[in-house]
């Protein structure tokens, strides 16, 4: 008989302490041993995790009103500009923003030692942060300048809101050019000397629900060490699935927009990142619980590093030019082994996302569900599945 479970049934098991939760790593041998049907009957929730540099992250704040009142026109937090074109004392800071006086890449490669991601980390770490704002003055908001120090606890609201996180699958970056390049996937030496990748493979949330059968608007998740929610499909969300000639699966293109109360997040799961020659960003810890509603959900959730593949892309010439044709496909098992073979050449691999931290996230989420009453939320609406999202457009100049 086919296995069918509802989120309500799973939540009832969580409340009664009878829920069976396994991490996405743990279900792999279980499914191999017992088969999908029995594993789906036994396991109620599969937890996933990823911990990597995620641009398209940011946070918005309400600073509270000053006396006299001020319509903050330009806002800086530790000299990093936040976007204040929202309301009088609201602003949004993006993880990739850098201080106005940052030397950028004027001496290449720039170091990007501090940016919006670091501001978010400092706030979460409860460090004091300098707030500077200027205004043009209005009849109802006459004040024109403020220079003060805030902590996250002084703010009315501090909300992490990341328009695109948890990229389902990511390119393996190599460099076919003649010079060392500095990319968002790290430093790449010339002539195919190294390969960098940035996905947790078999633990990565969107690789484990590639058809978006369970993840939707309102899905409750681990976000930055606290509780967050899927807010929407992420920007550039356009999931697809390719089966490679050797049977390997290549799910790619899915993304999540996520939101959560920054005040209850933890500094060890939201860390400012400096990418040499590229820019500043934020490393985000994110984990999604996947309710095992049926065998199909369990099948996808149990795919292993041997079965999941990523495309290898040249970041030296093809990618910057906008013509990223894959040089080949490699499995996460190959990537994790430390070397891959591309164009007949064996090259060392390095991850730029932390697999050990991803494991920790999946385990924490498991503990929350088993022991701390973390209930699963029923999505208000599922996200567009494969074939349901419009194809991505490139920018046409007119």
């Amino acid at each position: 008989m086919a296995v069918e479970k509802s989120i309500d049934e799973i939540n009832a098991k969580i409340k009664s302490g009878k829920v069976v939760v396994m991490t996405a790593e743990e279900v792999i041998p279980l499914v191999k041993e017992k088969g999908v049907r029995r594993a789906a009957a036994e396991v109620d929730v599969v937890t996933t995790g990823t911990f990597g540099i995620m641009c398209s992250s940011g946070a918005y704040f309400n600073f509270g009103h000053t006396k006299p009142r001020m319509r903050m026109h330009k806002v800086w937090l530790n000299d990093v500009a936040a976007y204040a074109g929202i309301a009088a004392v609201d602003a949004f800071i993006g993880a990739a923003e850098v201080p106005d006086n940052d030397p950028l890449n004027s001496v290449h490669p720039g170091e990007f030692r501090y940016g919006g991601g670091h501001v978010i980390h400092d706030l979460v770490a409860r460090k004091p942060v300098r707030l500077r704002a200027t205004s043009y003055g209005t009849d109802c908001y006459p004040r024109r300048e403020i220079n003060t120090t805030i902590t996250i606890d002084d703010l009315n609201q501090a909300v992490l809101f990341n328009p695109r996180n948890a990229y389902q699958n990511y390119n393996v970056a190599v460099n076919l050019s003649d010079k060392t390049i500095y990319t968002y996937l790290g430093v790449l030496k010339p002539h195919l000397a190294n390969a960098n990748y940035s996905t947790a493979g078999q633990l990565s949330p969107l690789l484990k629900d590639p058809y978006f059968r369970t993840i939707g608007i309102g899905t409750k998740i681990f976000l930055g060490g606290g509780i967050g929610y899927v807010a929407w499909q992420g920007t550039q969300h356009c999931p697809s699935m390719t089966t490679l000639p050797d049977g390997g699966k290549l799910p790619e293109g899915g993304t999540l927009a996520v939101i959560g109360d920054l005040k209850q997040m933890r500094p060890e799961w939201l860390i400012g990142a400096s990418l040499l020659g590229y820019g500043a960003s934020l490393t985000v810890g994110l984990g999604v619980p996947i309710p095992v509603l049926n065998e199909e959900v369990m099948y996808w959730a149990s795919l292993s590093d041997e079965e999941l593949y990523a495309p290898v892309i040249d970041y030296g010439i093809a990618y910057p030019a906008g013509n990223p044709e894959p040089l080949g496909y490699v499995s996460y098992a190959q990537l994790k082994s430390g070397s891959i073979t591309i164009e007949g050449k064996e090259i060392p691999t390095a991850p730029v996302a932390s697999y050990s931290r991803a494991q920790q996230i999946a385990r924490i989420l498991k503990r929350w569900i088993q022991q701390e009453g973390f209930l699963l939320s029923k999505p208000v609406e599922l996200l567009p599945s494969i074939g349901e999202a419009p194809a991505l457009k490139t920018l046409q100049e007119k």
């Binding site: 911990f51 990597g52 540099i53 490669p109 170091e111 030692r113 790290g186 430093v187 030496k189 190294n194 390969a195 960098n196 860390i271 400012g272 990142a273 400096s274 990418l275 040499l276 960003s281 490393t283 994790k336 082994s337 430390g338 060392p348 691999t349 390095a350 991850p351 730029v352 996302a353 932390s354 697999y355 050990s356 931290r357």
Partner: protein, 135 residues
């Protein structure tokens, strides 16, 4: 004796002197330069392996000190700050000496400071500034 890894620092006044020549010629020392750098102020830094007869070795160091060159052992010059490291692994492909490597299957970053040649690539490339220089 096995070679010692040392760090030399010299002022602009001696950075154009043929010091290595004298170490080899006058003291019969075996020199292996691992890294050398002269900054825009013409101050120099050199990391080398140095090997020779103990007496000659001591004289060689004395010769360099007489020129105002400071000499420090290499070990502990670069440190892996575990509190800041996220064990991502971004440094491991850049380390030319194999001092930074992924421990598999745990997928954690290990640092063997005995192998470090103080190229400082990891210090620049670590997104979290977890590799630190202590001079």
């Amino acid at each position: 004796m096995s070679p010692d890894r040392i760090v030399l620092r010299f002022t602009a006044a001696v950075s154009d002197k043929p010091i290595i020549y004298h170490l080899v010629k006058n003291y019969d020392l075996v020199v292996n330069i691992l890294k050398a750098h002269i900054n825009p102020h013409k101050e120099g830094m050199m990391v080398m392996e140095l090997q020779g007869e103990p007496e000659q070795y001591a004289k060689g160091l004395e010769y360099m000190r007489s020129l105002g060159i400071t000499i420090q052992p290499l070990s502990q010059q670069v440190q892996h700050n575990e509190a800041l490291c996220t064990h991502c692994g971004a440094c491991t492909n850049l380390c030319p000496a194999g001092a930074l490597y992924m421990e598999r299957p745990a997928m954690t970053v290990n640092f063997d400071d005995e192998k470090c040649v103080v190229c400082l690539m990891c210090v620049k490339a670590c997104p979290y500034k977890a590799m630190e220089v202590h001079f």
